[in-house]
Amino acid sequence: MKQEIIMAGFGGQGVMSIGRLLAYAGMKESKEVSWMPSYGPEMRGGTANCTVIVSDEKIPAPVSSHPDTAIVMNLPSQDKFAPKVKKDGHLLVNSSLIEKEVERDDINIIKIPANTIADELGNTRVANMVMLGAYIAAVDIVSLDTVKDSLTNVLPERRHNLIPMNEEALDRGYNLV
């Protein structure tokens, strides 16, 4: 099995972090993984994104023209990446911030009110974890437990007090799908 995932959002929405978390979890499950960030000069209000590939086999290109899944946290990201998702692939939409509909009926569109759920948990910044939880429920690529186990590896030590909240956010997203 091979999954190419693009995660995109505003700078600060934590798309790089959930990318690293997913890659780390894949590595823990002895899969081949790669994490490729966009690092170009982005406009303020534009999108930051990363491409994560999790595979049973060696990964050739670390970038993808047609990802299996796109996780979009804001509208510019949806506009940019929704058209690129492979047929029968998944599009996970942060419906708290994106109202616009995607005009495609050949992909599986999953709407997650990620910011709303994160706010309920007490911190908007875990909206990214809600999205990642939903993703691993939709696509069986790594287990939820491994993702949770990887939080200690990916979050800096000073943020380890936030692990329970991140775990809850992952659960909430996971249980939505």
Binding site: W35, P60, A61, P62
Partner: protein, 353 residues
């Protein structure tokens, strides 16, 4: 080997260098390689090493000259425009026959250019780094693991030949994360002794490190001695990797991250029945010219793919020596070629066959 870590290519350069026995880093910041000095500034003090941010790239490369002359394993890193500035020092280091490792995480040019990935410094790295009749040994990793392994190896090769070695990556490789396992930490006392180093002449004949040679006949001798080293590299250090070449009718030649994208295109083309393979040079100097010449007797045609307007393709043509057609596909300016584009080029070349 240690446990697997998920690390950024740039940081991996730093850790691999330290494990190879490097205790000195001199550099100057530039994107997209900044994680290398950042990592070294944190990590070198932990192993009693020295990290120094110089006042300029020229200064940094001359600090490397000094440290290498004193017998230390020393690293500098930069991205394209910064390497151009370091070129003067690199020529002196090569002239004085000193071992040093230089990492270039290429960005687009010319001039100040951009910060996105590129392979447009191929000519510079392999043929025209700076003035004078010298060569660098050039290693071109394509994965983060290979970046670790080749950085580690670079220090041994630099010592073996008393010559600067360049690790040539691009912004993509520097910025991406992949799992990596490091080789063991070298014991500094076990490293080969450098009898030629200027590390204090008490009790022995003094050593001289110099790149000045005003007597033409003597300097010619020196140049021929250097050439003999480069010839030895050609004999002993050529490294490359073949992928699905056994029955290939079209051979793609690509290095670094571009080779990985080409591999994806090859996998797709193979599913459609196109007999395509890849020769991936790992050493860019010495170049695997014999492997390519040999392939010219097997395949119908070649395709060089690069992130440039066509640099390495010239070495492919030299090796093929007119036996078979050599085509080129490249994107440049920081644009990374896509799997689709390379696939389309394969189909355009092989479609009617």
């Amino acid at each position: 080997m240690s446990e697997k870590k998920l690390m950024k290519g740039n940081e991996v350069v730093g850790e691999a260098a330290i494990r190879a026995g490097c205790r000195y880093f001199f550099g100057y910041p530039i994107t997209p390689q900044n994680d290398i000095p950042a990592y070294m500034s944190r990590r070198l003090p932990e192993v009693d090493g020295v990290f120094l941010q110089a006042e300029s790239e020229v200064a940094a490369s001359n600090m490397v000259y000094g440290a290498a002359g004193a017998g230390a394993r020393v690293l500098t890193s930069s991205s394209s425009p910064g390497i151009s500035l370091k070129a003067e020092g690199i020529s002196y280091i090569a002239g004085a026959e000193l071992p040093a490792v230089i990492v270039n995480i290429m960005r687009s040019g010319p001039g100040l250019g951009g910060i996105q990935p590129s392979q447009a410094d191929y000519f510079q790295a392999t043929k025209g780094m700076a003035h004078g009749d010298f060569r660098l040994l050039v290693l071109a990793p394509s994965t983060v693991q290979e970046l670790a392994d080749l950085t580690y190896l670079a220090f041994d090769l630099a010592d073996k030949y008393r010559n600067p070695v360049m690790v040539l990556g691009d912004g993509m490789l520097g910025q991406m994360m992949e799992p990596v396992e490091f080789k063991e930490m070298r014991d500094l006392d076990e490293l080969p002794k450098k009898e030629w180093a200027t590390d204090g002449a008490k009790g022995r004949e003094k050593n001289v490190i110099n790149s000045l040679g005003l007597v033409a006949e003597n300097l010619e001798k020196h140049n021929l001695k250097l050439k003999a080293k480069y010839d030895q590299m050609r004999e002993e250090e050529v490294r490359y990797d073949d992928y699905k070449m056994d029955d290939a009718e079209l051979a793609i030649v690509a290095y670094g991250t571009t080779a990985r994208i080409a591999t994806s295109a090859i996998d797709r083309a193979r599913k459609e029945g196109y007999k395509v393979g890849l020769i991936r040079p790992i050493t860019l100097f010495p170049y695997p010219e014999n492997r390519i010449a040999e392939a010219a007797d097997q395949v119908d045609e070649f395709l060089a793919v690069e992130m440039s307007t066509g640099q390495m393709v010239e070495d492919v043509k030299l090796a093929v020596n007119g036996k078979k057609p050599v085509e080129f596909y490249g994107r440049t300016g920081g644009v990374v070629p896509s799997t689709d584009e390379i696939y389309d080029k394969i189909v355009a070349m092989r479609g009617d066959k």
